[in-house]
């Protein structure tokens, strides 16, 4: 897991879910365990996109189940952006 991205994601998620950061697990199902719904998911991902200055493709978003998935996706998109030298926003 990317050690720069993960803490940021943890903080955003704890804010969105109104949880203490210590209570956030990266490997549990966001929808089943944390009760995330579509609105909260959209909110979470909007904050993630803004924080990392990226856009997460809708097709990839549909495959996300855990915060580990989110971290991996952000890592992948960031690397791709750097390689392509573009800002997605």
């Amino acid at each position: 897991m990317n050690s720069e991205i993960a803490p940021v994601i943890r903080n955003i998620f704890s804010r969105v879910q109104k949880l203490s950061p210590e209570d956030v697990s990266f490997d549990v199902d966001l929808f089943a365990v944390y009760g995330l719904d579509s609105l909260k998911a959209a909110k979470l991902l909007s904050h993630v996109e803004v924080e990392f200055d990226i856009l997460l493709p809708d097709d990839d978003i549909r495959t996300l189940h855990t915060l580990n998935d989110v971290v991996a996706l952000v890592d992948r998109i960031k690397k791709r952006s750097q390689q392509e030298g573009i800002c997605h926003v």
Binding site: L39, K40, S46, H47, E49, V50, E51, P57, D58
Partner: protein
């Protein structure tokens, strides 16, 4: 206490790039004319650059220093956020919900202390409280913001000077072609007819919220536009302008005492228009009216009154252009009878048309009913929330079928009664023929205005016959042009020169279209400052437009002008 700084903004552009925020063709929804009223093939399509009105109305009526941003880029919006605003208001439509989410996240990152308020028709969506915004402005915005900012709620109401330019769409590439500037007047919100499909009626609680208090105030507002900007043509926003009899009588009386060359376009219904002798309305400036025809068998109360065909004919005989709108997907419609709806609409010879899908917007009675009946598609993309969205399950039509039929309907109108611009010209000429022989001086004045419009528009059709849809329409246009020349005087050299110029542009555009395809329209960023704040905060590359506060409408006291 120092003045609060408020930023009111629309959602960000671009709209023309399909991505997670936009569907293909989204930019078309910004263009009232080319996407809706003159949606047709060919080059006679119109275009307008309509401002987003509500933020201006609100800004004009706050004591705080307010910046209004329209269609900024994300970078421009982010730069503005960093300037230290106290309150941000974002106006959005349902289809722009993903953009709203992104903008809230940007605001929380770059201005964490700033209060964030959301408003606009998008707030009809459920559960927005969970977005963690500081306020949701649902309904009339001036009162909401005054309360939110702790300002005097009942102080007088001002109306900003807002304009829209209407031109040929192809003039986007040939700006020398010119345009018509109209003043925008927001007369009131909401509608008590409460048709079950109507989102605006539902949004304002099925009641009327007046904004310009009396007919006299309306006249004075027009006069103010005329004095300040030289404008005498107006679009009046009011769901059913002629419904409010006392208000209209007040306006008519005031106008009779002070005749002026004002013309206005408005929205009304068969029911409301049937209350008046049409000549009274024409004398006072009625020049265009949008009537929701809805269907041959309209099930709505607003359609009661004169037979609709009689009303349209009477309007045209007075030179009043019309928009006729119908809905496809009503319960009683079938594959078999839907073409009758298009034929009926064409038979009314409306100048412009709107054919929309049945939309069950949030909060409408229609949505509640269809939910109960299990007739809402569960898997509709929230971005697909507009006039042509296919969100209702109809037993007769398969998914996507109605949208296709609607576009066929538009094409049927174009092929059978010609381009909208031709229909306008024909209506103006018809009105001139009938009114110029009237002994009534106000009707004489209308006939002069109509004659001027005819002569200004006619050159568009003098040398462009090859661009008309078919031989039948070519013949009708040729007959009309001959009659105008015969009754109204031979074409002048200037008109013939103008016709040649237009013909040249049409031919250039034909070549350009084949090479490059249609124009993609992206609006500019517009920034307007209200109040006495630091206009120097302007983003340097943008040109701010300083609009002075003007007292135009006062709801409580006799008008204090200006």
């Amino acid at each position: 206490m120092s003045k609060r700084k408020v930023l009111l903004t629309t959602v960000f552009r671009p709209f023309s790039v399909p991505n997670k925020f936009n569907l293909p063709d989204d930019e078309k929804f910004l263009d009232y004319f080319s996407n809706r009223l003159t949606r047709e093939r060919g080059l006679f399509v119109l275009h307008d650059n309509h401002p987003t009105v509500a933020p201006h109305l609100i800004a004009c009526n706050l004591q705080s220093d307010v910046t209004v941003m329209e269609t900024p880029t994300i970078i421009e919006f982010t730069d503005e956020l960093k300037k230290g605003y106290d309150v941000l208001g974002i106006s959005f439509l349902t289809l722009h919900f993903p953009k709203l989410m992104h903008m809230i996240a940007l605001a929380r990152k770059y201005a964490p202390q700033m209060k964030v308020v959301i408003g606009g028709f998008g707030t009809a969506l459920h559960d927005l409280e969970r977005l963690d915004v500081d306020g949701i402005c649902h309904g009339e915005g001036v009162r909401f913001f005054r309360e939110f900012l702790g300002e005097a709620v009942d102080s007088h109401i001002d109306h900003p000077l807002l304009t829209v330019d209407v031109r040929l769409r192809l003039a986007l590439g040939y700006p020398a072609l010119g345009s018509r500037k109209m003043g925008i007047i927001v007369n009131g919100f909401g509608c008590p007819h409460a048709c079950e499909f109507c989102s605006t009626s539902a949004y304002f609680g099925k009641r009327h919220v007046p904004f310009v208090a009396t007919g006299k105030h309306l006249y004075e507002l027009m006069a103010h536009y005329h004095r300040m900007l030289g404008i005498h043509e107006f679009i009046i926003y009011e769901e059913d302008f002629f419904l409010y009899r006392r208000y209209i009588d007040d306006y008519l009386q005031y106008f009779r005492e002070r005749p002026a060359p004002f013309s206005f376009a408005c929205y009304s219904t068969v029911k409301a228009l049937s209350q008046y002798p049409l000549e009274d309305l024409v004398r006072a400036g009625l020049s265009h009216v949008w009537i929701g025809v809805e269907s041959v068998q309209s099930p709505f109360n607003k359609s009661n009154g004169k037979p609709v065909a009689e009303l349209f004919t009477e309007l045209q005989n007075h030179g009043v252009t019309t928009t006729g709108s119908i809905i496809a997907g009503l319960d009683h419609q079938t594959r078999k009878n839907l073409p009758n709806e298009f034929e009926h609409l064409a038979s009314l010879f409306p100048s412009t048309v709107q054919i929309s899908n049945l939309i069950a917007g949030p909060e409408t009675d229609l949505r509640s009913r269809l939910e109960r009946e299990g007739r809402l598609r569960p898997d509709v993309d929230i971005r697909d929330s507009h006039l042509y969205s296919d969100i209702v399950i109809h037993p007769e039509f398969s998914r996507g079928e109605l949208r296709g039929l609607i576009f066929q309907g538009y094409d049927f109108i174009y092929q059978s009664i010609g381009p909208a611009l031709y229909r306008m010209l024909a209506t103006w000429h018809q009105g001139w023929k009938n009114l110029h022989i009237s002994a009534d001086p106000l009707l004489q004045m209308r006939s002069s205005i109509l004659a001027g419009r005819v002569r200004a528009l006619a050159p568009v059709f003098l040398e462009t016959e090859e661009f008309l849809p078919n031989d039948v329409i070519r013949s009708r246009v040729a007959n009309l042009m001959s009659e105008i020349e015969r009754l109204n005087g031979a074409w002048t050299h200037a008109e013939r020169r103008e016709a040649k110029r237009i013909s040249k542009v049409f031919n250039q555009e034909k070549v350009r279209l084949e090479r490059d395809g249609p124009f993609v329209y992206e609006p500019d960023t517009r920034i307007t400052y209200y109040g006495e704040g630091e206009a120097s905060n302007a983003v340097q590359k943008l040109v701010p437009q300083q609009i002075p506060r003007v007292t135009v409408v006062d709801k409580r006291r006799p008008l204090m002008l200006f």
